[in-house]
Amino acid sequence: MKPMIISLIFFICMPIYIWGDIPIKKQLLTPEQTINELKKIKAKAISFGSGKNEIHTFIDPHCELSQRYLAFVFKKKEQMFAKYTFYFYLNELKGKDSAEIILSILSAPYPAIALKTIMLQHGDINIQEDDNTQDIVDEIEESAKLIGVFKRPYIIINGKVK
């Protein structure tokens, strides 16, 4: 009886693992498709720098590694921002409860400053509501799913995930 129950649980969970919210460790689109997909949401990203090379990253403001990644970028910001243009896409990671803070950052008059305040200085910002912001969050979410963003930080260089 017991092995039967275990097998049943396994077969019920398997499709959830494959098709559900449990991350799949691969990029779903080709690099070219990824670049095209990113073009659609590029304007919604918070960008830094003016370099020739583009670095696209999906981050969650409450994710410790996203914060660490941002700290590395800002550690040598003059050098980094001269060589690269960074696009940060705020994308909630399950279990981090960051939906509200993402909305606040994106609704802030200066989202870049708000992002730094939250992620680097661990400060607070005023919570703001903006109907349009939710659309941005949804668009990013949709693209993330299409690309196959499974972790944070999810760094894309030349259309390929690092």
């Binding site: 449990i22 994710c63 990644y69 980094m80 972790k151 930080p153 260089i157 690092k162």
Partner: protein
Amino acid sequence: MNTKLPYYNYIVFIKRFRVAILLVITTIIVLSSMMIKEGFVYSDQSLWLNGSKEYNKLLQLKYPSLTIEKIVFNIERDGWSIKAIDRLKSFHLNIRKQTNIVSINSLFDQSSIFNNHLSQNQSMIEIIPLLDKNSTDIYNEIRSNPSRFESFIDGNQVTFYLGSDGTERLNTFDCNYPYSRTKVEDSNAMKNFLLFSILFVMLTGSFTVAFRSILPTVLGTIFIVATTLITILLFQSLSSVKVTHISIVLLAVTVSVMDFVYIYYKWHVFQESVPTKILLYRVMTKTIVPIFWTTIISVVGVGSLIFVDSQILHSIGLNVALSSSVGLLLSVTLLPAMLSFFRQKNPELVTKESVKYFAAKEVHYSQKWLYRFLLFSALVFLYGIFIYFYKPMNVITDQSDTRIQLILDQRDTDRQGLTKENLEKLQNIHKSLKEKFSDIESVYSAYSEIEKLYKQEYPNTSFQLDTIDVATYNFMFDLYGISDKVLVNNQPTVTLYLKDTKQKTMILSFVRQQNLLIQDRASLLQMAKRDSINTLFSVVFFVLFLIMGIVYLYTKTMQFVWIAALVNAIPLSWFFATIMLLDMPLSTEMLVAMVITVALSSDATMHFIFFYYSNRLKPRTSEKVLETSFLYIGTALGMGNVILIFTFIALVFVPDPTISNIGLYSSMLVMLSLGMELFLLPILFLQWVKENRTLRGYYH
């Protein structure tokens, strides 16, 4: 006395205006001593580098040169422990605060690559220096993978490489462990004191002993000081080289000692046989011709080095030319003016009896042994020539310079940086270096870092350069601050760590052919010295041919020409062949010593040949010819050379490797050269000249 005789009116002039002449020269000496810029340089590093081919390439491309200092700590007291890691780490952190340090390479500087995996959906590959980890983690990492740190850890010896910009020297620093540091120099004041004390004591002592009188000591000191001061002043005024290396003082002293000894000795021996009135005239006629031709040889031969780009060779050339010219000028002005005031009563001829003994011995030389000796020397010479062309020349190097810093030379700016093409080049360089040279312990470059990173990410996949995305690694290098370690001015660098320095010259010659620029000053210096070997050898040969040419010009007799060539070439061939046979690394001090010796021995040869040639019409037996040549030339030559040998040997005690090595090699070479002048030249003269019945005008 016939006033139409050469030099006679000149001697009369010198005698008449001797006070005025002495006053003028004294004024020049005083002014020279006041105008000379202080501070002699002992380190010849910058002189070697400036004007050298490799260093010029680096300058043209605007890359900074790097002075790397190796510091080895002995942590035996604590052994490998967390406490030891703590102490070394605190040293690393403290030394980093020194403003003149541009790079530190130690075990703490090594990258620790790991996958920071917080959860299934939070992960990131991170590269952090070991320094950012706590001491326990560092200890564990070293213990778990000791081969990664073999360039920095050898038992209880822990190595740090500190890089400073250009000529910057590092200050002293504190650490809880004893350490060895080879590049610290003693103070120049101490060296100056020792060097000048040794020179003064040896020279004055030797003059007093040799002539059993205080007069040559006083006159010799004045003459040598005058020649040296005026030479240095002229050198500082005329040379584009802004520093005065201490070897310039040594060369000037050497040249002036020989000039003084030849003239003073002649004046000394003529005291009894020549009336006072014509004494100076006779001295002048007997010495001025060989001194003049020797000066020509020095000025034209060694002086040709002034056209070389290398600052050190330029300095040697200019200095020999100036000191010979000043020596000649003061020999015909200051010295006769001073000598005209004195008369030596009962002058002692210290070698009066011994010259007879030697002449009697040498006149009965064995022709068979002479030819055997010449044949053997010819073989030694041929061996030296063969080795010179076919054996890779090893230049002496500091044992502690076990790190070589290189830059990939890619002039096309579009192809610079971490491109696939450059990474492929680095891969090939890694491969060839490891295949060819067993002395290389490890090679560090962007390629090796990418390989490490790849293996960390994909431990089960073999690393293939074609499959990687270079832009990603470029970004990671920038993100984690690795770019500064593997790139300079956007050009990839290569760092070689050597087990020892035996193959270093060969490695540097190889990397130069691989389109790599040498960045560290120790290696640049080594290549500058390596490149100067050919120039210095050419000069030695040029001087030999010049001696032959001048001897022919003066004597029009080929026998004299061959004698001059043999007597000057044999000591150099023996010395060089012995160095090659013993596989001793060649040092520039040896080559400088060879240049000094060839200048000195040409002096001796010219005096001997002038003597034989000008006495060729006198009816004398072979024994008498040898006896008089020993008395009038050989003794002065012996005295001068013995004084120089002792002085050079004493320089070994100066705590500076350049000076002590020049002293050591010069003393050996001068000894060899003296032996040839006293024992080979007179025999060759008897064999080829005296017995040559076909020689026109010669009295047999």
